[in-house]
């Protein structure tokens, strides 16, 4: 038992408990200090992850490998940025409570378990730890009707998805005789002997995970939850859990179910196409920017699913690259959205951005970068995400996916352009309130990453390449 491999998670769990304790014990407002400690714990955890060695722990239930390291670093970055984004917002929305960073921390812990899972049981444990924390986060503004509704909706549908997932796991276990990823892969090694029961199980697992990544047709909850939840929570929802669920999805499909590629490929292709089309078309009519971003993220997940549908090393690599690029674009966009405040009130419609190019050129420039990047225009990072996904699709001969993917990206470009149009071409409205420094920091950091990714893409690409080698030797 090499428990040392899970040291980062253990440290994170302990510091989470410590911060919780501190928040309870400390007199007065502990939000600031708890948030800072949480960020410190996340950074410490990242350092430990980078320094740790690879291998299976706890009899293969926990895997420390390049895939999990890649995903964990992304998740930690997303969580840390989300906490940073929440500081100012929660203060102004009168929901500044020390539980917030602690919940983010435990959700992060769950996600780290998810991406390290080597067994259906540890997978489910991680997923539930993550889900339960984020249900609470969705309803964190408990006096706000929309937030409460978002929390409830998320909980009910999330619980349903967990149930489906669990049912699928039980079927797979029943027909393959193993909970372990290696064992399942072994049992499915001969495609001829795969029983229909396993296939049904795989379908249920796919359904459950598709719920978690909000792929069409299991996306219904996304726009409502994204719109209703407090904005920093939405920024968090759109990034870290998506990375965790997507990497988990990729690992499960390509690892234990990898040999059954022929059985599930069409299914993933279908939900990928549906997500891309819906993400592109449904966003056009939106007026609320958080809702728009919800549809946008559905579309982005469609592109990531192309990588999973490839079911090979190039596919896995493209999934990881896309996620890395996506997280920073999305966080940056939300930093801008959080800066949208007039006279102390948060405003959320796209029309409120009118004239931002005049009133706040720096913020408008950042938003422009994120929007062009999301549309996949080179040389911004979003282009590289799409480039590798489409390269994987072309390599795997999935021409249908590739063609539909590029065409929906053109349709999607329309609504990203519309935001730029509102910012620069429309007559200016009144200026926004002074933005908090934390927002500027996040917007600048993510903006620099997005703009200059093309100069030095090698670290991300090589890490993704190394990760892809884990499953495809």
């Amino acid at each position: 038992m090499n428990w040392f491999l899970s040291l980062p998670e253990i440290v994170l769990a302990l510091s989470g408990m410590g911060i919780l304790l501190l928040g309870v014990v400390k007199r007065g407002d502990a939000t600031q200090i708890c948030s800072m400690l949480t960020i410190a714990a996340l950074v410490l955890c990242a350092v430990l992850i980078v320094g740790n060695s690879f291998g299976p722990a706890f009899e293969g239930q926990f895997l420390a490998d390049p895939i999990s390291v890649f995903a964990k670093l992304l998740i930690l970055a997303a969580s840390a940025f989300s906490v940073l984004l929440s500081l100012d917002f929660n203060e102004r929305a009168h929901i500044a409570r020390f539980e917030f960073p602690v919940l983010v921390l435990f959700a992060t812990l769950g996600m780290m378990m998810m991406v390290s899972a080597g067994n259906m049981m540890s997978l489910y444990l991680g997923l539930e730890l993550q889900s339960l924390s984020i249900y609470v986060l969705a309803a964190f503004a408990r006096d706000d009707l929309r937030s409460a509704e978002a929390g409830l909706k998320y909980f009910v549908l999330g619980a349903l998805a967990s149930g489906l997932l669990l049912y699928g796991i039980s079927l797979v276990y029943g027909f393959s005789g193993s909970m372990d990823f290696v064992g399942i892969a072994h049992a499915l090694a001969d495609p001829a002997s795969v029983s229909p029961g396993v296939i049904v199980g795989i379908v249920f697992v796919i359904t459950g995970l598709a719920f978690k990544v909000a792929a069409v047709p299991f996306h219904m909850w996304t726009p409502d939850v994204y719109e209703g939840a407090p904005t920093p929570v939405t920024a968090f929802f759109g990034t870290a859990p998506k990375v965790a669920a997507m990497v988990l999805f990729a690992r499960v499909m390509m690892g234990p179910f990898g040999h059954a590629l022929g059985q599930w490929q069409t299914l993933i292709e279908t939900i990928s196409i549906a997500s891309m089309i819906l993400g592109a078309l449904a966003a056009i009519g939106q007026t609320n920017i958080k809702r728009l971003m919800a549809y946008s993220s559905i579309g982005h997940m469609g592109y990531v699913l192309i990588g999973i549908a490839c079911g090979n090393a190039a596919g896995l690599r493209s999934v990881l690259i896309y996620l890395a690029v996506y997280v920073f674009m999305f966080l940056g966009t939300f930093a801008v959205i959080l800066a949208m405040r007039r006279r102390g009130e948060a405003v959320e419609t796209i029309a409120d951005l009118a004239g931002l190019g005049r009133n706040d050129p720096a913020l408008a420039l950042a938003m422009t970068v994120f929007m062009f990047s999301m549309a996949g225009i080179p040389p911004l990072s979003g282009f590289f995400g799409k480039l590798y996904v489409f390269l994987a699709a072309v390599q795997s001969g999935l021409w249908g996916l590739a063609v539909i993917g590029v065409l929906t990206s053109v349709v999607g470009a329309f609504y990203y352009l519309r935001i730029i149009k509102v910012m620069y071409f429309d007559e200016p409205g009144s200026a926004f309130d002074r933005r908090a420094p934390s927002l500027s920091v996040v917007a600048a950091a993510t903006g620099i990453f997005t703009t200059f990714f093309f100069l030095l893409p090698a670290p991300v690409l090589n890490a993704a390449q190394a990760a892809a080698k884990v499953l495809f030797g």
């Binding site: 282009f383 352009l417 071409f425 390449q465």
Partner: protein, 524 residues
């Protein structure tokens, strides 16, 4: 790797404008001061870039058909992608065209652009980087980044500084071009994957299976046809031209349209010879329709910019005919026509800009009799009108006549219909000129209109000189691309003959499958 300049000249020309952009971004002070400084900074940057491209011009060895000034820096070596730059006879003159038109555009916007001057200059310099980069890139991924990156500054130029319907036009421009380009991206990915490298110099000598070529060609066509633009996907161009500010129109007509034709020359014809030959009749048909149809449409326009925009479509159709004749005259003519059109149509848009700045209308009917008040302007406009018509002794003549020669070798009717553009061109251009310049100056507000200012004279002087120079002594320009073009034509014919020999020798079902150097391990 060293090149004949001894230092990375192409990269310097490409990226220096961006550096100027950074300088402009860092300007501080009152709004007026920033505007003035931004104008000067942009002008000086673009002039220095132009001076460096003149150095490129003088150092270029025109007896060499291959790429020169090559730079090669590893970027993503494990994917076979590198930052590769280089120019050959085909691309060098486009680099010069871009670097020449940029300072002219900046000078043209000196007084016309009054809001967000700093941003305007910044965007123009970014645009210059993208344009030069497109023509210098010797790597697919790098090429695509520049080619597509052009959309961002151009979208902003039309959308922010454009006319009343600017939003519609900007969206139309962006989405049309993007829709074509993404299909090209897939073709690039397929070629990249099957050849294992994105190096254009390698791909130029890679033989792709004929069936694959057809699909690749169609994907490239989707992108380049929109960019050129060819009938029937030309409709974004009149809108974009009408709404763009003068300088935007100049760059659009002068350089951006050439990117499509350059794409045909760089990718479609040399890399996909069989498919190019197979689809050539389609190109001829679309081009002939464009020549005749858009010329007639131009005749009916009431807006000057729209008229010139339609004439651009007609002139670019002559270019596409020339490219797909696959003979030296045709391709030489196409290249020459592109260069002359870049200068002449750019100058025509500037001419429109001159009177638009004074009267704020482009309605042809609002003018008349300008020769009385603006003799210098009338002469300048006359020269470019005649060059656009293709009068011997001006730049427009040489390109058209060479393309006619080239197309005559292919088919008499092609040459006849393609050549009809010259007659129709004379109709609409002279008609435009008569209505604007001649006649009696009756309108009251035209009575006080002023002739060209010194700044405007400075704008037109280089273009006038070039138009006459190209018309009188064309070989000082054709010598640059002659060798590259004849090498390309020879390679094309060798590829076609090679394929037909193989087909003739063996029954078709036994024909050996063409070998594609699949280096998949590199891409994996």
């Amino acid at each position: 790797m060293m090149n004949q300049a001894g230092f990375p000249l192409l990269s310097l020309i490409t990226w220096l404008p961006l550096l100027g952009g950074v300088v402009i971004l860092s300007l501080r002070g009152e709004e007026d001061v920033i505007a003035a400084n931004a104008r000067w900074a942009a002008l000086w940057t673009s002039l220095i870039v132009f001076a460096m491209s003149l150095l490129l011009w003088s150092e270029f060895d025109s007896s060499e058909a291959g790429f020169q000034f090559v730079e090669n820096v590893a970027w993503l070596p494990e994917f076979g992608v590198g930052y590769r730059m280089g120019v050959d006879g085909i691309s060098i003159l486009f680099v010069l065209l871009s670097t020449l038109l940029t300072p002219i555009c900046i000078l043209a916007s000196w007084e016309a652009v009054r809001k967000n001057v700093r941003e305007y200059m910044l965007v123009f310099l970014v645009l210059e980087t993208m344009m030069v980069g497109t023509f210098c890139a010797l790597d697919f991924v790098v090429f695509y980044m520049f080619f597509e990156g052009v959309l961002i500054p151009m979208y902003l130029i039309i959308g922010i500084w454009g006319g009343p319907r600017r939003v519609y036009s900007a969206f139309k421009f962006f989405l049309y071009t993007l829709a074509g380009s993404v299909l090209m991206l897939l073709a690039l990915l397929a070629m990249w994957y099957s050849a294992g490298t994105a190096d254009i110099t390698v791909l130029l000598h890679t033989q792709f299976p004929t069936n694959m070529q057809y699909w690749l060609f169609l994907a490239f066509l989707a992108s380049f046809a929109v960019k050129v633009p060819m009938w029937p996907v030309h409709t974004w161009l009149p809108d974009a031209h009408v709404e763009a500010p003068t300088a935007g129109s100049v760059i659009l007509a002068g350089v951006l349209l050439k990117m499509g034709a350059y794409g045909f020359l760089r990718f479609s014809v040399p890399m996909l010879p069989q498919a190019s030959a197979y689809f050539a009749p389609l190109i001829y048909a679309l081009s002939v329709v464009a020549v005749i149809y858009t010329s007639l449409v131009a005749l009916a326009q009431t807006d000057m910019k729209k008229l010139i925009a339609y004439s651009s479509v007609a002139h670019m159709a002559v270019v596409t005919i020339g490219i797909f004749t696959f003979n030296i005259q045709g391709i030489d003519g196409a290249l020459f026509q592109m260069l002359s059109h870049g200068i002449v149509s750019g100058a025509l848009f500037l001419c429109v800009g001159v009177i638009y700045d004074r009267m704020h209308t482009r309605e042809i009917a609002r003018y008349g009799g300008l020769a009385e008040r603006m003799p210098a302007y009338a002469v300048t406009f006359m020269l470019f009108t005649l060059a656009s018509v293709g009068l011997p002794g001006t730049a427009g003549f040489v390109g058209e006549i060479l393309v006619l020669f080239g197309s005559f070798k292919v088919n008499f009717w092609l040459s006849l219909f393609g050549g009809s553009g010259m007659i129709l061109g004379a109709c609409y251009m002279l008609y435009l000129y008569r209505r604007v310049i001649f006649g009696r100056l009756t309108r009251a507000d035209l009575q006080s209109i002023l002739d060209l200012s010194p700044r405007e004279v400075a704008l037109f002087a280089p273009l006038v000189v070039l138009t006459l120079w190209m018309g009188v002594y064309p070989s000082s320009f054709t010598q640059f691309f002659e060798n590259s073009v004849s090498a390309m034509v020879m390679q094309h014919h060798a590829a076609i003959e090679g394929a037909s020999r193989v087909a003739a020798r063996t029954p078709s079902h036994l024909a050996p499958r063409m070998v594609v150097p699949v280096a998949q391990s590199v891409v994996h």
